[in-house]
Amino acid sequence: MSTRALEWIIERLLFLCAALSVLTTAGIILVLAVETFEFLREVSVVEFLTGTEWTPLFANQRFGVLPLVVGTMLVSAIAMAVALPMGLLAAIYLSEYAPSAVRRIIKPVLEILAGVPTVVYGYFALTFVTPLLQQFLPSLSGFNALSPGLVMGLMILPLVSSLSEDAMRAVPRGLREGSYALGATRMQTALKVVVPAAFSGITAAFILAVSRAVGETMIVAIAAGQQPRLTSNPFVPIETMTAYIVQVSLGDTPQGTIEYRTIFAVGMLLFLMTFGLNLISTWLREKFREEYA
């Protein structure tokens, strides 16, 4: 075979491997769409999206996904209430205050925090954080939204802090120097010059963190319970979309039944939510890059 033909074949093969990622996305959408379509032939879209009871595994089946969505949002909100302020403060400290020696120690430790398997965080939430909280909050039940939410916030914190720090470090030095020259303190410079200048980059980090919280599975599957209920009370057991998928996967639900299809319908909703958030985050990051390119 001539060298030129071989080169041509190799390039095609490499292209196929790169195109596999597009096929993966297509595969995800197709697999979810086919089963969701079958599901929606038996349950109307309106009932699925606006129903307030989710009991597909009981004799009296109801397919209102709202309790799962609200449960997901409740845990994610608690997680963000921890990760957002702490992550931003940590990022400001690392970017504006910390001497480089301190940063060299803290950044790898934060990376460890991000690399701990989520099942380990689940164990921590259930066997340590919940009993600890129960000493102060006697009404807290063994499974609840509060404890996994707090632990999830801890898990997401490194993501928020490292992406926000990257955004702040990308702000040109000249802006800071101008601010100091006008007599501003470091705090004033950080809060009134650097953070606003890096705003779209920081927002992109926050949105990516929300997407991570919404899709997080094991912490909530272990520590939040399996009771889909429409509540904003963080002290009682709830169920998230991801935890429901795990619950059904653990049982032996036969393929082709409506119970089996529910996990794909819930998965579709989860995919659309996180995909939308990811797109907004990517768009914001691009915008931020343009501002200082």
């Binding site: 995800i28 697999v31 400290y93 690399g115």
Partner: protein, 280 residues
């Protein structure tokens, strides 16, 4: 007054970091104090049991090694090939740009969604069943974006003079990549692969979703065997009400963390040796 405000703010930021680090220390301390007493050679070499004190993790440890080994075998060649295409061939084309955007988006898709893909595609459509092969294929898809991104970075560090020198001697594009560029980028590629695998090794949700079993009294003997992995075993034990099983879960977590740490140590050694070679 403004000075005090600045100082307070700095203290608040530092306290935040200390709280985060203290939480990490508490987590490690909690798991070590719960599980260390249960660790023994017997724990590593026995099968699960209905009695907590007789149960071990041999099957799960073997399952993890099988699945991660196969994941590496699948993700490495495909990921490297994709990265070479994007970095060396198609950098300017519109298709390459589209693929890049797509990879960035895939990296942020929740892992449980990959599990649903694996269930629909590998387990059902391709008929792999709940085998090591189906699990590893799912995890390979999950690991691919990380492998591709890190390989691209490694390729970018190879100076263009190396490529030009090779072309000047009459080598074709692929000869240049295979004989010059890839060997130079290899340590960076391997570090990226190990980091991707150390994320995959802790994945639980996608494997539960494809139907990996939670109770299995044997270790896999081929890629078509049914399997379970360490994180699933941890989940199974922690979901039981009895405290003795929680102790088992903590001990299994320690085994998992030990695996993770040794993989990261390998990555650091590879990177370190590479940097020394660079300087020499």
């Amino acid at each position: 007054m403004r000075k005090y405000g600045d100082l307070l703010f700095q203290i608040a930021s530092m306290v935040t970091l200390v709280v985060a680090l203290a939480a990490l220390a508490t987590l490690v301390y909690d798991i070590v104090s719960d599980g260390a007493g249960r660790l023994s050679l017997t724990f590593l070499t026995t099968f699960p049991s209905r009695k907590a004190e007789e149960a071990g993790v041999y099957h799960a440890l073997m399952g993890t090694i099988w699945v991660i080994g196969l994941t590496a075998a699948l993700a490495l060649p495909i990921g490297v090939a994709a990265a070479i295409y994007l970095e060396e061939y198609g950098t300017r084309s519109r298709i390459a740009r589209f693929i890049e955007l797509n990879i960035a988006n895939l990296a942020a898709v929740p892992s449980i969604i990959y599990g649903l893909l694996g269930l629909g595609l590998f387990v059902r459509l391709m008929g792999m069943g709940q085998s090591v092969m189906a699990g590893a294929s799912t995890l390979a898809l999950l690991a691919l974006p990380v492998v591709i991104l890190s390989t691209r970075e490694a390729l970018r560090t190879v100076p263009s003079s190396i490529r030009e020198g090779s072309y000047a001697l009459g080598a074709t594009k692929w000869q240049t990549i295979w004989h010059q560029v890839l060997p130079m980028a290899l340590p960076g590629v391997l570090t990226g692969l190990i980091l991707a695998l150390s994320r995959a090794i802790g994945e639980t949700a996608p494997l539960i979703t494809i139907g990996a079993l939670t109770y299995i009294p044997f270790a896999p003997d081929s890629v078509w065997s049914k399997f379970t992995v360490l994180p699933i075993q941890v989940f199974n034990w922690v979901s039981r009400p009895q405290a003795e099983f929680h102790t088992n879960a903590a001990a299994a977590i320690l085994v998992l963390l030990a695996l993770l740490l040794s993989m990261n140590a390998v990555a650091i050694i590879v990177r370190d040796r590479y940097q020394r070679q660079e300087r020499a």
